[in-house]
Symmetry: C2
Subunit: 170 residues, 2 copies
């Protein structure tokens, strides 16, 4: 690992990384930070955070049947997030509605309102564009390899770092 790297220059680190693994880890976290900000930036006109947009899309994806609160959390990008207050904001904004489930009254079913769907119809193309720009540096083949590498890393680290007792991990 004697070669100078771009990440080193980016963070103005003069010394080489102690290992390729360290370089990869730092590059991963730093790149995600940059991309997250870039994508989050396009949501500013709507006053939505990336997490809120993410949740709203998950809820819309559930269709008319709705989706219980904790099922949303499992599908979020940030797994550990506190979902209640995030949904409170979406409900206050009139983008979703919640009601107690009939068969199991512990559950709270979330559905997207018409207003919520309208917002997504507006926002989706813009986020799509942002995603394209975010990955524009990679060719199609590179992108596929990139995704495969991310998948491999994520799966290998899924249990490590598990924040809570995972539901389906027994």
């Amino acid at each position: 690992m004697a070669r100078p790297s771009r990440v080193q220059l980016a963070i103005k680190q003069t010394r080489p990384f102690r290992s390729a693994a360290q370089e990869g880890t730092i590059a991963l976290l730093r790149t995600a930070s940059v991309v997250s900000r870039a994508v989050g930036r396009v949501l500013e006109p709507w006053g939505l955070s990336l997490a809120q947009y993410n949740a709203l899309r998950i809820i819309r994806g559930a269709g008319t049947g709705g989706i219980p609160t904790l099922a949303i959390r499992e599908r979020m990008i940030e797994e550990g997030t506190t979902i209640t207050r995030l949904l409170d904001k979406l409900e206050q904004a009139g983008l979703i509605e919640r009601e107690r489930s009939l068969p199991d009254r512990r559950q709270v079913i979330c559905r997207a309102t018409m207003e919520g769907k309208r917002w997504l119809d507006e926002i989706d193309p813009i986020v799509d564009l942002a995603d394209e720009e975010a990955m524009a540096a990679l060719g199609p083949r590179q992108l596929q390899q990139f995704i495969a590498a991310l998948d491999a890393v994520r799966e290998a680290n899924a249990e490590r770092g598990a924040p809570r007792t995972m539901v389906g991990s027994s």
Copy 2:
């Protein structure tokens, strides 16, 4: 993009991604989240967050000359972070010390204390191990390609999402 993907399974998304770029973006953010938690987990015994450890390492790297506050922020993984309160904690913990610079009294120079260096000597090998584990799913060649892809994506997105007036961007 008709093939089913691992990320889709992981976030229980039944529909295919709208584009490879979207899949890549989500995979990047989600993987970084998982790895960040896994690495951050090993710092718990010391009560340090990943950002604090990151800052402490940067400060130690500056040596006896020290480093001004804002120069630390430029080198952090999370670029936009408010650095003052983070340094307050490190100072309260006795890991760093701060003093006004003599030539330019606006600057506050930060240095690692002996205690701070001792902590890093203990922590570094453990974080190294965590980094190795985080990237263990990739072979040496895959890892190099992975790093190259991350570098390319990060650089292409560096200006987009720029949170503040970048110092050296004029």
